[in-house]
């Protein structure tokens, strides 16, 4: 897909995110908006997905296709929107987000059998381990699919992440690309103040990872180029870590660059102000 087309999808996804969070008056818009380019570029351009007659089909095993895992499950709005817009389930279902009897739980789950989700996430620090298991299963199955996993930067404070970070190079899991959403914010404030992760790139390099950076994580062309580059480095015995520099709340001016919109829903007025900044490109749900 052309960059311009991907940007149009991203604009619609951002509208979905703020509308979903507004609709239930809860959820996490900040990180969702910041990771929109990544998820759109993955699902609409980079990932090889199972299709039948031009329509995506979902099965849990995900053989011979690329897989994506969201470790920082609280940014479920962006994932749900991208999955629906990609065709995994009806976009009308986005209106049920976080409501009783919905398949779109506050944090992603397999429990309600929502197409596109392969593991529950939300309790942080677990997704990289799961992705490593899925990547290892692909190797055992002689399956050439790639496994992608996204984590938050605050999430890097979880100890399990570093167990997984040690495991991956040791077992030469070189069919996996991990991302850290470096937005520099977490619930209690800027990450450097809450718990300074210091130089994550140097840490992962020291652990044996191949580390690359996407400096403009909200520039679609830069993200697409970075994903292409990351894929080119697979298959050489090392896992790939992509440091994705994003702005929390990107695309909605009053939500940008602050931890204050990590987990807060806009009111009616704020919703209108946000939507005025985002073109409706694919039709609202």
């Amino acid at each position: 897909m052309e960059i311009e087309q991907l940007e149009k999808v991203a604009s619609q996804v951002r509208r979905d995110i703020v509308r979903m969070v507004h609709g239930c008056q809860s959820g996490h818009p900040g990180g969702s908006l910041g990771c929109t380019e990544l998820l759109v570029a993955l699902y609409f351009e980079r990932m090889k997905l199972k299709e039948n007659d031009g329509k995506v089909v979902f099965d849990m095993d995900g053989r011979d296709e690329d897989l994506f895992f969201l470790s920082n499950g609280h940014i479920s709005p962006v994932w749900y929107s991208v999955l629906a817009r990609r065709g995994y389930f009806p976009v009308s279902e986005l209106a049920t987000f976080r409501k009783l009897d919905s398949r779109l739980q506050g944090h992603p789950t397999t429990h309600e059998h929502l197409e596109g989700i392969r593991i529950a996430s939300g309790s942080l620090g677990q997704g990289l381990s799961v992705a490593l298991g899925a990547a290892t299963a692909k190797k055992l199955n002689n399956d050439k699919g790639i496994v992608y996993v996204l984590m938050g930067d605050g999430e890097q404070q979880e100890g399990q992440v570093w167990e997984a970070a040690t495991f991956a190079p040791h077992h030469q899991v070189d069919n996996l690309i991990a991302f850290i959403d470096l937005n520099g914010q977490q619930i209690d404030g800027p990450t450097v103040k809450v718990m300074n992760n210091r130089d994550l790139g140097a840490k992962y390099e020291a652990f044996g990872w191949e580390v690359i950076s996407i400096e403009e994580g909200n520039d679609m062309a830069a993200v697409a180029k970075g994903l292409y580059e990351a894929k080119g480095r697979l298959g050489h015995g090392r896992p790939i870590m992509v440091l994705l520099h994003t702005g929390m709340g990107y695309g909605v001016d009053f939500m940008m660059g602050s931890h204050k919109w990590h987990g807060v829903a806009p009111n009616d007025e704020q919703l209108a102000a946000a939507l005025a900044q985002l073109d409706e490109t694919l039709g609202d749900y």
């Binding site: 593991i119 899925a134 100890g159 040690t166």
Partner: protein, 318 residues
Amino acid sequence: MKKYTFTEKKDTRSGFGAGMHVLGQQNPNVVALCADLVGSLKLEPFIKENPERFIQCGISEANMIGVSAGLTIGGKIPFATTFANFATGRVYDQIRQSVAYSNKNVKICASHAGLTLGEDGATHQILEDIGMMKMLPGMTVINPCDYNQTKAATIAIADHEGPVYLRFGRPVIPVFTDADQKFEIGKAWMVNEGTDVSIIATGHMVWEAIQAGEILEADGINAEIINIHTIKPLDEEAILKSVEKTGCVVTAEEHNRIGGLGDSVAQVLVKNKLVPQEYVAVNDSFGESGTPAQLLQKYGLDAKHIVEAAKRAIARKQ
């Protein structure tokens, strides 16, 4: 009292290792994972024949559970192995979210459960694991009684779709069940039919219960002994059928009295048929260093304590 004899003593963890050896040959989807305790879990035969299907995780149990959950995506059947303490309490949230809530086909296989790991002491003697695991929706909890039953259970759980907690131990104990037994998950095993008291035991306590049955027989008491190897789902029918006959119960487990087999049985009784129940279990405390036999005696878990509990239960009958 039906006579149970044995020609050898073995540890249940070796039964697990033997089961894994068989699975390695029979089921190409079985993958073994371990957190730096290969020798303790008796995994060498599996690893020797299937090195590509063994994943050494190092001392990183949380990651091991996550990797196991991921392996199921792609059709693998991961057996995640370590000591019971590190397989449950240490990684409860990982099991809860990535395995149980996600309904992943992960087999959590835990050795050195209970007091009888002995000298290592309370840091390693988990007595809360059955409770933690049985509280997780969808989790099957199995605690077999000897080497042969543990081997059979290990083989059986590979064919069961869904998360399983398999608990076994370190001490060598008599091998008294059949070598070629068929293991049915959720089905109680009648060890001895009796009329005066139902002794419902799990794990290492089944052999203690058999010894208790012999002592009771000498005192003129005819004990029914049931081996509950599957604590969840519990064979409620077998329990109720037994208490209809005997009118009182002793539960015996190498676990805290809070949250274990005894509480599961009590729930069944409260709901269906109120009869006196006596607990043989650790009385809400941690363990300590000692030999397995010393610990069972000190913490009230040996045959002698089962006998006393049986007599108390019978005395409480109306």
